[in-house]
């Protein structure tokens, strides 16, 4: 008996405790302090995986975050920005805990490949905020330096690819991607300041909180002044139009509005968008005095197509095998970041690393998520403050989110064989913007869900319900009807995008727990994760 116990202790020490309660379970819920959800101690994943996490994820990323800051405009620039802007100081310091939340419970190749995706997002984020600070007139004594004169600001919903013709000469930096979007994932408290700020000037609380927050950053005067001109986009949403109006007021710069038409999949509308993109290019030439370059555009598009082709390879493995090594949250965030921001060197570096892991998993037939009970597709837009819910859902219930709507939106290559083809495809890409094609893009695209369910071999749907998006709210009942008609297992995740006060993380977990126990009649894999208080967590 003692020998058996000793051998189990030794096995648990070397390989980590097993996942399920029946096998003696690792009980991940007990690793955390109440409310703050800080670790009492980090997870022991067995010797090889703990050492990998310690050296190649935790230490490596701290070191490379410092290195990125040193290489990209230096620590003084960073310190000045940190002292001036809340969204950087309050958010980016606990970034390794964002890794922890997304990678909790992961083992082996799944942990490694997912972590590389996080690393790429961190590096791209540092690149953007360091550029903002280095060009910022507020941090440089009111001076418009050379970097300022060669930077263009734009809404995060404007695809970075429209600026490819000026690659190396003008740097495009989205206005909200770092101060708003990424902050919500890393530290969900930061954004609440901005939502409250915009409501404090009398705006109602019921429009999309994303638009509220994006305007609130301006109300609190928390936007760097880093570019002479700005491009806005309506995101085919009336709240977004209002954000642009407020931004125009507060930013007070030459502004070009790149429209996203309410209609699409229509040749006439596509012609209109093509003309608008050409107008945008003319506007940039006029403002910056630098001519459009067809060579630069096609070169960058080819590089972006390379990324897309690898994405398709990954999807093939994901759809047809259990060897896909990227977890739901890493897949979703990396893909939306990469496809919206546009081509950048770090994506290629990451893809090369991930390709090696992917090929290893396939050739050695490594089941990366061995406790999968259901293959889940997540549809519509996710709660930004709880994008890692799928990590929890896998650990607790064996729900493996294999694909999601955000990843599938830009399911296309862009032709570079002629100007006409390129422009046509770019217009298409622009119209398939985040939360556009399949969230407010009409029934045809929303109901692509059924095709993708088949393609990715899914047996369950996690249906997001953004409570303050008037576009998607109207289709709630239609989905309910279709789920019943098609006999599809589906659960709803209500949320208010960045605002964690409307539907808490605990409430989301409770809804999934209820569905899994009362409808599916299943037992949790790890009962310690059923109910815990993380109300104060980042």
């Amino acid at each position: 008996m003692a020998k058996k116990t000793f051998s189990k202790i030794l096995k648990d020490f070397w390989y980590g405790k097993p996942h399920t309660a029946e096998e003696g379970g690792r009980r991940l819920g007990e690793l955390h302090e109440d409310k703050t959800h800080l670790y009492k101690h980090r997870e022991w994943r067995g010797v090889p995986d703990t050492m990998y996490y310690f050296y190649n994820i935790w230490l490596y990323n701290y070191i490379f975050m410092v290195k990125d800051i040193m290489v990209m405009h230096g620590p003084i620039t960073f310190a000045k920005g940190l002292w001036r802007y809340r969204w950087i100081g309050q958010t980016y310091l606990p970034v390794l805990h964002w890794f922890d939340r997304g990678l909790e419970g992961m083992r082996g190749e799944a942990m490694k490949a997912s972590a590389w995706h996080y690393r790429a997002m961190v590096s791209t984020t540092i690149r953007q905020f360091q550029h903002m600070f280095a060009a910022d007139t507020r941090l440089n004594g009111g001076r418009q330096n050379d970097l300022y004169r060669h930077t263009i600001a734009h809404n995060e919903t404007v695809w970075g690819g429209v600026f490819y013709p000026w690659d190396g000469e003008i740097t495009n930096v989205p206005l909200e991607m770092i101060p708003y979007f990424v902050t919500c994932h890393v530290n969900s408290h930061t954004v609440l300041n901005y939502i409250d700020a915009v409501q404090s000037i009398g705006l109602p609380g019921d429009p999309c909180p994303m638009c509220q927050a994006e305007a609130g950053i301006f109300v609190l005067d928390d936007v760097p002044d880093y570019a002479p001109a700005v491009i806005t986009c309506n995101e085919a949403c009336d709240a977004s139009v209002s954000t642009s109006t407020l931004q125009d007021w507060f930013f007070d710069k030459p502004l070009f509005s790149l429209p996203m038409p309410m209609l699409f999949d229509d040749p006439l509308v596509k012609d209109y968008v093509k003309r608008e993109i050409e107008e945008l290019w003319k506007f940039i030439e006029q403002q910056y005095g630098i001519p459009f370059s067809w060579e630069k555009l096609t070169k960058k598009l080819e590089l972006q197509n390379e990324l897309q082709r690898f994405e398709w390879e990954k999807w093939e493995v994901d759809a047809k095998t259990p060897y896909y090594p990227i977890n739901g949250v890493a897949q979703a965030l990396y893909r939306i970041y990469q496809s919206q921001y546009g081509d950048w060197e770090i994506w290629h570096v990451t893809d090369r690393k991930v390709r090696k892991i992917l090929e290893k998993c396939v050739s050695k037939k490594i089941k990366t998520f061995p406790q999968t009970r259901h293959r889940v597709i997540a549809w519509s837009c996710a709660p930004l403050y709880y994008s890692n819910w799928c990590t929890w859902a896998y650990n607790c219930w064996g729900l493996n989110v294999v694909i999601n709507m955000d990843s599938l939106m830009f399911d296309m290559e862009i032709r570079t064989d002629s100007y006409e083809h390129t422009l046509e495809d770019m217009a298409q890409y622009h119209m398939w913007a985040p939360m556009r094609r399949m969230a407010v893009g009409g029934m045809h695209h929303m109901f692509e869900l059924w095709d993708y369910m088949k393609r990715f071999n899914c047996d369950m749907v996690a249906m997001y319900d953004q409570l303050q998006c008037k576009g998607v709210q109207g289709l709630h009942g239609l989905f309910e009807d279709e789920f019943r008609k098609r006999d599809i297992k589906a659960f709803w995740i209500p949320h208010a995008l960045p605002d964690s006060r409307t539907v808490s993380r605990a409430e989301i977990r409770r809804l999934i727990n209820d569905y899994m126990s009362t409808v599916m009649h299943e037992e949790p894999l790890d009962p310690s994760l059923l109910d815990f208080d993380d109300s104060m967590t980042w």
């Binding site: 703050t36 800080l38 670790y39 009492k40 101690h41 980090r42 310690f54 935790w58 230490l59 940190l82 002292w83 809340r86 100081g89 309050q90 310091l93 606990p94 390794l96 805990h97 922890d100 000037i201 301006f218 109300v219 609190l220 005067d221 928390d222 125009d248 007021w249 507060f250 007070d252 030459p254 070009f256 003309r275 050409e278 107008e279 003319k282 506007f283 980042w538």
Partner: protein, 72 residues
């Protein structure tokens, strides 16, 4: 030779202590506890007390820039 050996031994000892210390920080989440309990509250206090421009007082200059000529 002896000096080199001593130097390598010293280096090894420093590396070992640094590794152990960092692992303790990592394993007991001391970085998280420091950031959550000390750094973030300090920074929040700083940001809350910052003087900020009242952006609502900015004029909405409709005609500040020349009229844009839309060619298409």
């Amino acid at each position: 030779m002896n000096t080199i050996f001593k130097f390598i031994r010293k280096l090894f000892r420093i590396a070992l202590i640094a590794n152990v210390a960092l692992f303790v920080v990592f394993f007991f989440d001391l970085d998280g506890k420091l950031l959550f309990n000390v750094v973030e509250p300090f920074l929040k206090k700083h940001y809350d007390s910052m003087e900020r421009k009242d952006t609502l007082k900015a004029p909405y200059d409709m005609d500040k820039y020349p009229k844009y000529d839309f060619n298409s």
